[in-house]
Symmetry: C2
Subunit: 586 residues, 2 copies
């Protein structure tokens, strides 16, 4: 790209975007739509002529805009928030995404679009727009109401699921078909990668940022943040995931840093500049001819988005035990599509699997539903009143009984405490096992390179394998021991609960001990078999395996306490990072 042409493009983009967004702000419409309109005006499809010289460079900067956009979303996301999100968010988000994926696919098929176009349409319709909702609630001054909090919960779950959808679609587009096994494998690897990245990242990154922050230089902190952000995106891209995932994950990791507020302030102008380019670039791609040609699908899909999302989200919120008014307000707040849809539509173009019309259609549907959002939010209350008046009496009674029943089955008092403990233990076991699995998968992945490196000392390939496998086992021992101890605690808890004195009589103690010893050992055996299967390519022969096992037993016996100390230190560091104060973030 030539410098002057680039400056000219930037000048045109920023000037037109500035004027149009001021206009849109005065008309009380979302600024994002202003950007898209600005892109449309200066784009190659609108008269008098294309004002952009170097479209390729603008597209690259738009990609950087996506990175900053997702990085900011990640900064606003936080694991603590995800843990605190109630059942409402999970149920509503799952229901919404499943229904919209199915509806989108069906609508695509109805219009006779290809298999892949229909699939992408479903994905495009699945996720609501955080940007639009936050701005709309801000402008309506409803950000602190209860339904708004429920909406933010749904959006957090949606972000995670949206990341999953993007990873799945990238995989599907390459393989070309939807096989349940492949989907499960993709999702499994994705979850594994996310857990490992989050655990390792939260252990390292906030400490690094705290160190850099001691220099009290905004410049150095920014450069470090940018280095980590782009570096992690690159790593994720090399692992053949989308950079969107990378930007979101590194944002979520930095959200656990004590410097969060400072980082947000430093990144905000960069995000605003590059995301403006991203949204303008979306407008550049809009061809009015396509919009006219596809006016009918755009109308149908817009109606499907609004009705489908209101139905799914309201129902999900209602099922989770909220009152009708709140449920309707949540549903009507979430009834639009936005930045995730653009990213998914762009993905389709980049992978070359979707037709040319899908992108403009997605943008048009987003524009229509975005414009409707404030009116829908404002209409929710009158509509709830109206429904309440016209809903038949029996129906209302059923809802009331359902709510009471739901409250009655929720664990209370001692039971709630126990349920909380069990959830916590299972989470810890899950994280530790994920780390173990990642170590073994990593060992298998890098086996070729490691073997080559080992070959200077060890000639026998079987011995090399044994070394790699043994090394992986040694490295994962702290996590394995921790998982075993947590499982034992869980088993004791379960033994206490399930084997009652009045049933087992004088055998109570022995039976309880049996249960509490047997369950963790059985689980551990299961885990080892699973590991052996996952690392089959580097699993050594029988006698060597036996030898490794013996060595491991000796190591465990000698270093038991040390392993526990190392692990508990890491765990404390991790939890401290999660629970430290980030300076009153909203």
């Amino acid at each position: 790209m030539h410098a002057l042409a680039f400056i000219q493009d930037m000048a045109v983009i920023m000037l037109v975007a500035g004027v149009v967004t001021i206009l849109f702000h005065r008309l009380k419409q979302p600024v994002v739509l202003g950007y898209i309109l600005a892109g449309f005006i200066i784009g190659p499809h609108t008269p008098p002529f294309g004002l952009i010289h170097d479209e390729e460079s603008i597209k690259t900067l738009a990609e950087v805009g996506v990175i900053f956009l997702m990085f900011s979303l990640g900064l606003e996301f936080s694991l603590r928030k995800l843990f605190r999100v109630g059942a409402t968010a999970f149920i509503a988000a799952f229901l919404e995404i499943s229904l919209m994926l199915w509806l989108g696919y069906q609508v695509g098929q109805m219009f006779g679009w290809s298999h892949m176009d229909s699939l992408f349409l479903g994905a495009i319709l699945a996720i609501s727009s955080t940007t639009i909702i936050v701005k709309a609630l801000n402008e309506l001054k409803m950000k602190h109401e209860r339904f708004a909090q429920q909406i933010f919960g749904v959006l957090i779950v949606e972000d995670i699921l949206g990341i999953g959808i993007i990873a799945l679609l990238s995989g599907l587009a390459v393989s070309g078909s939807v096989e349940p096994g492949a989907v499960a494998s993709t999702l499994g690897k994705l979850s594994l990668f996310m857990i490992v990245a989050l655990v390792v990242g939260i252990l390292l990154v906030p400490r690094l940022l705290a160190y850099v922050a001691t220099f009290e230089s905004n410049e150095m902190l920014l450069i470090t943040v940018l280095g980590l952000c782009f570096g992690f995106c690159l790593l994720v891209a090399k692992l053949e995931y989308s950079v969107v995932l990378g930007a979101f994950l590194i944002g979520a990791i930095m959200a656990e840093s004590r410097q969060l507020l400072q980082i947000e302030k430093l990144v905000e102008p960069l995000r605003d500049m590059f995301s403006a380019i991203f949204f303008v670039a979306i407008g550049l791609l809009l061809d009015p001819k396509v919009l006219v040609e596809y006016a009918w699908p755009i109308t149908v899909i817009s109606v499907v988005v609004v009705l489908g999302k209101i139905l799914a989200c309201s129902l999900g919120t209602l099922i989770a035990g909220n009152d009708g008014r709140t449920s309707l307000r949540v549903g009507m707040g979430l009834a639009q599509i936005g930045e995730f849809s653009f990213i998914i539509a762009t993905l389709g173009i980049t992978l070359g699997v979707t037709s040319h019309f899908l992108y403009p259609v997605a943008v048009a549907v987003s524009a229509v539903t975005t414009l409707l959002t404030p009116y829908l939010i404002k209409a929710a209350d009158p509509l709830a009143l109206w429904i309440g008046r016209w809903l038949p009496q029996p129906m209302q009674r059923v809802l009331g009984i359902y709510g009471e029943w739901l409250r009655s089955i929720q664990p209370q008092g001692e039971k709630a405490v126990l349920a909380g403990m069990m959830r916590r233990i299972l989470l810890q076991v899950g994280i530790n096992l994920s780390l173990v699995i990642a170590i073994f998968l990593g060992g298998a992945y890098f086996a070729g390179g490691l073997a080559g490196w080992l070959s200077t000392w060890i000639a026998d390939p079987d011995l090399q394998k044994a070394c790699i496998w043994g090394g992986a086992l040694l490295l994962s021992l702290p996590c394995l021991i921790a998982a075993y101890r947590k499982l034992k605690a869980l088993a004791m808890l379960m033994a206490e609960l399930s084997v009652r004195q009045n049933q087992a009589g004088r055998y109570t103690q022995p039976v309880r001990r049996l249960v509490s010893e047997f369950i963790p050992l059985l689980s551990l055996a299961g885990i080892l078999v699973l590991l052996a299967a996952l690392s089959s390519s580097i699993l050594p022969r029988g006698e060597l395996l036996l030898l490794i096992g013996l060595v491991a037993v000796v190591v465990i016996a000698v270093l038991w306490r040390w392993f526990i100390r190392v692990h508990s230190r890491l765990q404390i560091a991790f939890i401290e990072t999660l629970e430290q104060d980030k300076g009153g973030h909203h």
Copy 2:
């Protein structure tokens, strides 16, 4: 540029820059040198291999970095500051730049370098580095001492002169020779452009920014600022000046905005990110072979820079009436080259007029002198003491007498007030005449287009010319009248002072009236002749000119008061903008 390659480049740049700058910060060395070293490490000239894929894109972003760098310098510059800067700054800056231009040229010739290389070397050595000095003084905690204030004054004058040097070099590189007439014409046009841009910009831009700021959206303010910045750079580039000038000017204009602090905070991360790319890109160009080959010139030039700048700046400060210690501290603080030198060296490459070795030599000299800066500042006090002890008595007495003489010739009391008034009047006349000249030059420049547009109504080309010239005259009448009135006030003041009662006796009043009427009329006639010469291409024939003159006289007679009111309103708006509080800026 491909998105992933670009992300990879960004990741490499930011990660290496982050690590190296942290290292440099720990070693208490300037971060800027860290960036350059980072670029050198990842560059194509250093083993093991070039880590940058898309050098072209990085260069473009480096150019954007220059824009943000100069824009930030402009934001920190301010006309108020320039007006307040004392004689010290002007004398030291002029002396330094003249001496360094001459010394640089001579050194280049001594090494047998080409005419153009020597000229660029002079320019590269002329301007000291604001970035380096501010950081060094910050770290030494000397920012608020008297000599530091003197240094900042010199830097402000240097910025303006540096901009002039860049404009001159661009012109020279194209024409290939240094003709006094061409230089004067270039500098004249440049000054005219700067004055007009500043006056018009300060009347419009702060008002626009205040309007956008009422929306209380950082995003919209940033987009507007970026639009104005890139837009103005584009305009300046179309007028065939350097974008460096444009970025600096629009920054200086925005420095008069009430939103200055907010704008600085929004632009800071963008500047830090892009200027990091700029400095890394400088390192990318460094070829160690050239550095070794040119080790001797680098040494000589570094010594010349340090000694030359210390001598020129200390002498200038001393001449302006400061004590020896302060003078030496000012001189030793300014003894390095930095960002302006890189920009000028880049200009040489872009224009294709300098040899390949000049750029690495400039960077190496900058690195050496930058590394010396903190030590020089710290050494200034001991050196001043040492010189004081060893300076011969007569020499010290001469200095003392000079200082007293300087104080004795400075206007005091009533005279100082009068001198201030006269300076103010001359400044106002100068600005108004600049605007008038710009209007006529603009008329001549756009005459072709305007004539074409007029031809639908007026066929005769002579009549068209008359219309354009008349229009320019009408447009410039408020400024002409204001200039005339200011000149009259000046003439009255001078008559009062020069025609004394005891000399002219009873003719005092008539002679005074003669002087106070005669001088402004003579000046006005001179101005009109100058305007006629400048706009000779659109000057109509004799009788038409007479007609226009008659119309002008009638218009002036009828609208005299209205013209004065319009002009004074604009003037009040301008001065209010200059003098409003920008929220406690440093």
